[in-house]
């Protein structure tokens, strides 16, 4: 019985929040203009379903494109950084500095370069989400057990051998773990860019509806964004377990 409750609990909590929200709106008689109730939000969603669908799709594909770039670039840079201490020390301050720059400040530059459209959104998603991937891949390489490295070096293994046989495989749990963080960040990047300047996407929809005081539509777009984020997170959580089952199992057996 406990396990069914545990399985249902995400749904129960989500529904509970909506119920609370609805009750609060009615009980305190909150103006739609301040906080639309869930029923009004869902009504707006039904009414504007076609533009919302279109914008959701734009946001989804630009996010995935930016995320794909981030994964490719993040893995390569992570391997390079994890490979050599010199490169690690050299690049780390630069990367941290870059990561500290608010990406919303970069969007106008990207729009200047590439014009209004999907490209700035893709690039912002990429810029905001590659950092955790780099850090995790580099950490996976850097935390290799020194004894294991000794075992291999005493066999005459070159650095490349050690990387291929041990370093890269053991980095996998770190990589897949970081993808879950990175995908949600990528959504943030896309929407930030769409809000600043775009002609499609949920961020654009939110900015547009906000400027015409259509608060239920704003909230409908926000909800769809959350749904997309949860769905993609779930996809990558599944991929993580699928590819790195050994990491989960071995940690479970260590606890047993």
């Amino acid at each position: 019985m406990n396990t069914t409750l545990e399985k249902l609990s995400p749904w129960l909590f989500t529904i509970g929040i909506f119920v609370l929200w609805e009750a609060a709106c009615r009980f305190f008689n909150i103006d739609t203009f301040i906080l639309p109730s869930p029923s009004e939000t869902f009504a707006a969603m039904a009414q504007h379903w076609w533009p919302l669908m279109r914008h959701s799709f734009v946001t989804l594909w630009t996010t995935m494109a930016g995320f794909a770039l981030a994964v490719a670039f993040g893995i390569v840079l992570g391997l390079i950084v994890g490979w050599s201490r010199t490169i690690y020390r050299g690049l780390y301050p630069v990367m941290i500095g870059f990561n500290c720059i608010p990406k919303v400040a970069v969007v106008p530059i990207l729009i200047m370069w590439f014009g209004i459209g999907e490209v700035p959104a893709i690039l912002t998603a990429f810029l905001i989400s590659f950092f955790p991937i780099v850090v995790n891949v580099a950490t996976g390489l850097a935390t290799m057990e020194p004894e294991l490295e000794d075992v291999l070096r005493a066999l005459g293994a070159r650095k490349l051998d050690i990387m291929l046989k041990v370093g890269i495989p053991r980095t996998q749990p770190y990589l897949f773990g970081s993808l879950k963080v990175a995908i949600t960040l990528a959504f943030v990047g896309t929407v930030v860019s769409e809000t600043v300047g775009a002609n499609a996407g949920l961020g654009y929809q939110i900015a547009l509806a906000g400027s015409s005081f259509q608060m239920p539509l704003v909230f409908a777009a926000l909800l769809l964004l959350a749904v997309e984020g949860i769905a993609m997170y779930a996809v990558f959580a599944y991929i993580e377990v699928y590819f790195t089952r050994w990491a989960f199992r071995s940690s479970m057996s260590a606890a047993a």
């Binding site: 057990e145 004894e147 005493a154 066999l155």
Partner: protein, 262 residues
């Protein structure tokens, strides 16, 4: 018999953040071909440094290390190593863990892909000799600590190294499993006759397994006593209760107590 490992008057300094630490000073050690040597000493005396020196993983400041007639310049390629932590790769099955050295060491490296079945058979046979028959297709996390350590031993031996370096391989195991693995190592050694350098804290372990026990001083480490163990072979665990055995352990103990105070 010819010397297989010859360490002559070696100094070793570790360069740390807070200046260098002299780990070994004037260390001299001689191990003959096929001999089982044990190195004991107080903790932090540089026993593990000795391992790294012999396998060429760190260079000596001064002095010379000769292994099977060749001066050590870089990592030697004929050594198998095992440590306190089995360090198995969790994403590989047991048999693939054992095969890892063959994917790296010459000449197996070139032949590995084309002769995979043959090598797997070899690995399975080796696993069977340490009592892990039928465990090849399991993953390391499905095995107990003692079984993992057996796999680690197999991995150290699969490429038939002339020299086996063991750094406290049984320290993390419970007493019964440890004694069991002493016997596993004894049998493997008696069958394959490689040269062994076993670094350990456990004097009984050293006395049970070794031909010669070398006692190291506190840091900076050097060999202060080399004690031949004249117990009959093959030895069984009952020998640990014989007066001659106990006398050896007592003598070693006294010597280590002495160097700890010095």
């Amino acid at each position: 018999m010819t010397a297989s490992v010859d360490i002559g008057n070696v100094d070793l300094t570790y360069k740390g953040v807070s200046g260098g630490v002299l780990a070994l000073k004037g260390t001299t050690l001689n191990v003959e071909r096929g001999e089982f040597a044990a190195v004991v000493g107080p903790s932090g005396c540089g026993k593990s440094s000795l391992m790294k020196l012999v396998t060429g993983l760190v260079p000596a400041d001064t002095g010379e290390i000769v292994i099977f007639g060749d001066k050590v310049r870089g990592p030697v390629k004929i050594a198998g190593m095992a440590f306190q932590n089995p360090n198995l790769l969790p994403w590989r099955k047991v048999v693939d863990n054992v095969l890892l050295p063959l994917e790296i060491v010459q000449p197996h490296r070139q032949r590995f892909r084309s002769h995979k079945a043959e090598y797997r058979e070899q690995a399975r046979a080796l696993l069977a000799t340490v009592g892990l028959d039928g465990f090849g297709e399991r993953y390391p996390w499905e095995l107990s600590g003692g079984m993992q350590q057996r796999v680690s031993l197999c991995r150290a031996l699969i490429h038939q190294p002339a020299l086996l370096m063991l750094d406290e391989p049984f320290a993390a195991l419970d007493a019964f499993t440890r004694e069991e693995l002493w016997c596993v190592l004894r049998d493997l050694w008696q069958k394959l006759r490689f040269t062994v350098i076993l670094v350990t804290h456990d004097l009984r372990e050293a006395a049970f397994l070794a031909d010669t026990i070398h006692v190291m001083s506190a840091r900076p480490g050097r060999i202060v006593m080399s004690k031949p163990v004249d117990l009959r072979r093959p030895r069984d665990l009952d020998i640990c209760f014989e007066p001659q055995f106990i006398e050896i352990v007592h003598e070693l103990r006294a010597k280590i107590a002495e160097v700890r105070q010095a």
